[in-house]
């Protein structure tokens, strides 16, 4: 296997571990994996959820060095992140792996332009291509297909979907090397932040009940409350409910523009099952649905579908669940 130098970076420690593990596999025994962290005025900005010592420990056996770029400013900015990545790639970096996060796309895009690299977004896996370069696997056209993207020019810059790290670090903390970023290329004045409180963890819920346009009025969503509590579920929804009608906050949106679930059970009520919605449901073990149209796409993409009026079926489901226990 060819040896190369890989650069990995992420806004969270587990994503950084995931990127490093993949890079380690591709770099081979003689290759190098350099992890990039950014530190600013108020401490570490990337990964933001651990101290540098945690991060260096978490990379044991996965990366060779943790490069810490000081001077990144007040918050994680895409242009500063890109400056760090470009420096870390240097002359001989072969591949850059970054997990998706706010600012990550700007970081990846600027890095790719600066390094005359090739780039792919939404990557799920990466392989070496025969004859050089890399091939990234990603979901394409909203989830209609899985595609293979050839990344021909080097370095290859890959933006991965955010996810979980399943492995475990082993051995000693990786050595930390401090570097300093120059002044930002662009002046951006930070006026202020209004915190957004997230109350839902759809991605981690074990049962998700989602509502769609089969519900006629906002008040009708009350119908699902007893079902949600009987199942101990989290409430999700399709795009029209969150974005067009704004009946539920966007954090409850399932699909391409929203969350991807990993639930044991996903129950879709009055949702037609367009690919942009279903792409967020791929990770569910069992998919059930209630829809009054036996030809709706959801019927070909679910395990169990009650063909019927949700206004009648949902209360009966609550009864059936209650009488069972």
């Amino acid at each position: 296997m060819m040896a190369g130098r890989f650069v990995v970076s992420s806004a969270s420690v587990t994503d950084l571990q995931r990127m490093a593990e993949l890079a380690r596999r591709l770099a081979g025994a003689d290759g190098r994996v350099d992890a990039v962290a950014l530190a600013g005025d108020a401490g570490v900005l990337a990964p933001e959820d651990g101290t540098l010592a945690d991060t260096a420990g978490g990379l044991a056996g996965l990366a060779d060095t943790l490069l810490v770029y000081e001077g990144a400013g007040e918050y994680l900015r895409g242009d500063m992140w890109a400056a760090a990545l470009v420096d870390a790639v240097g002359r001989d970096g072969e591949c850059v792996l970054v997990a998706d996060a706010p600012a990550a796309r700007e970081a990846v895009a600027r890095t790719a332009v600066s390094c005359r690299a090739s780039v792919a977004s939404m990557c799920e896996d990466l392989q070496r291509a025969e004859g050089g370069g890399f091939v990234a696997r990603r979901s394409i056209y909203g989830g209609v297909a899985d595609g293979l993207i050839a990344l021909v020019s080097t370095p290859a810059v890959c933006l991965f979907a955010a996810g979980k790290f399943e492995g475990a670090p082993s051995g000693e903390s990786v050595p930390v090397e401090q570097r300093t970023l120059g002044a930002p290329a662009y002046e951006v004045t930070h006026v202020g932040d209004e915190p957004v409180v997230r109350t839902v963890d759809l991605a981690g819920a074990s049962v998700v009940v989602s509502v769609g346009r089969g519900f006629v009025k906002r008040e009708d969503l009350d119908l699902v409350d007893p079902l949600v509590s009987a199942l101990g579920a989290e409430l999700g929804c399709s795009r029209p409910i969150a974005e067009d009608f704004k009946w539920l906050p966007k954090e409850r949106l399932v699909g391409l523009t929203g969350e991807s679930v990993t639930a044991e059970l996903y129950l879709a009520l009055g949702i037609s099952g367009q690919v942009q919605h279903l792409t967020g449901v791929k990770g569910a073990r069992v998919v059930a649905a209630v829809n009054n149209d036996a030809k709706a796409p959801i019927t070909r993409n679910a395990d169990y579908v009650v063909v019927g009026d949700l206004y009648k079926v949902v209360p009966e489901l609550v009864n059936a669940l209650r009488s069972r226990s």
């Binding site: 918050y75 209609v144 202020g192 915190p195 957004v196 579908v305 009026d309």
Partner: protein, 260 residues
């Protein structure tokens, strides 16, 4: 003030299907449109123009002859003129190519104060083109933008960074990428689209941008080389009974699956 909106001509992504028989994504003969989020960018630009009539608003689009109709739709939303860069198919898997062509096209036009685009294109979903364009133009990039205010050469934007709504201020020129939460785009009427006469849409060839299709600069930086169905195999059991019986049956199945 001058604004350029980069809008993408795409096939309607909700119509794209996987063809099991030929093992391929079917893109032929599908309706085409302005990419979703670019409509939010156009709307935001038109709103700025409505509040400040001196705003001069251009739309730039890459595509073949078929994109002309889409470009007219974009102009009909309220732009002054449109520019079609005859660069062939705007490959969703090569966003760096799109950014390079757009940057060259923008270089040919009167210098903008503000370049706007959608956060992602609905076919590629990369979220790379706008930021790559900012890098090529050497200006700041703000995304995902959900609020905008222009004030004497500077721009105040609200960004949805997940954990917060962040307000930042930059001097123009800059590139902003608009999120769908920013607004509800207007739909131009058929009559408004018809009223966009030929003199409001100009064509630019790649040659005139000193880019030819095979130039090294446009060499593929990312290319789709294979695909397979993205569908997950499911059991597809239909339960067609009276509501109470159907509900009981579903609960029974779910119990057997061990998910209750």
């Amino acid at each position: 003030m001058r604004i350029i909106v980069c809008a993408k001509h795409v096939v309607d992504s909700t119509e794209i299907r996987w063809d099991d028989e030929h093992d391929e994504v079917v893109l032929r003969n599908l309706p085409t449109k302005i990419s979703d989020y670019d409509r939010n960018a156009l709307e935001a630009a038109v709103v700025l123009k409505e509040s400040e009539p001196s705003v001069d608003l251009d739309v730039v689009m890459i595509g073949g002859e078929a994109a002309l109709k889409t470009l007219k739709e974009a102009v009909a939303m309220g732009a002054d003129r449109g520019h079609l860069v005859e660069g062939g198919w705007d490959d969703p898997f090569d966003p760096l190519r799109s950014a390079r062509v757009l940057a060259k096209a923008i270089d040919q036009l009167e210098e903008p104060d503000l370049v706007m685009c959608g956060l992602v294109s609905e076919d590629g979903y990369n979220g790379v083109t706008g930021a790559a364009l900012a890098q090529l133009l050497d200006v700041p990039y703000l995304a995902p933008v959900v609020g905008l205010k222009v004030d004497e050469g500077s721009l105040e934007a609200v960004l949805d960074v997940g954990s917060a709504l962040r307000t930042v201020k930059v001097a123009m020129p800059c590139v902003v990428a608009v999120d769908s939460a920013m607004n509800v785009p207007r739909l131009p009427t058929v009559l408004q689209v018809m009223k966009v006469k030929g003199d409001r849409v100009a064509k630019m060839s790649l040659d005139s941008l000193s880019l030819s299709a095979d130039a090294a600069e446009l060499a593929h930086a990312g290319e789709l080389v294979g695909s397979e169905s993205g569908a997950v195999e499911r059991r597809r059991v239909l339960i067609e009974e009276a509501p109470d019986e159907a509900a009981a049956r579903l609960v029974e199945y779910l119990r057997q699956e061990g998910v209750l």
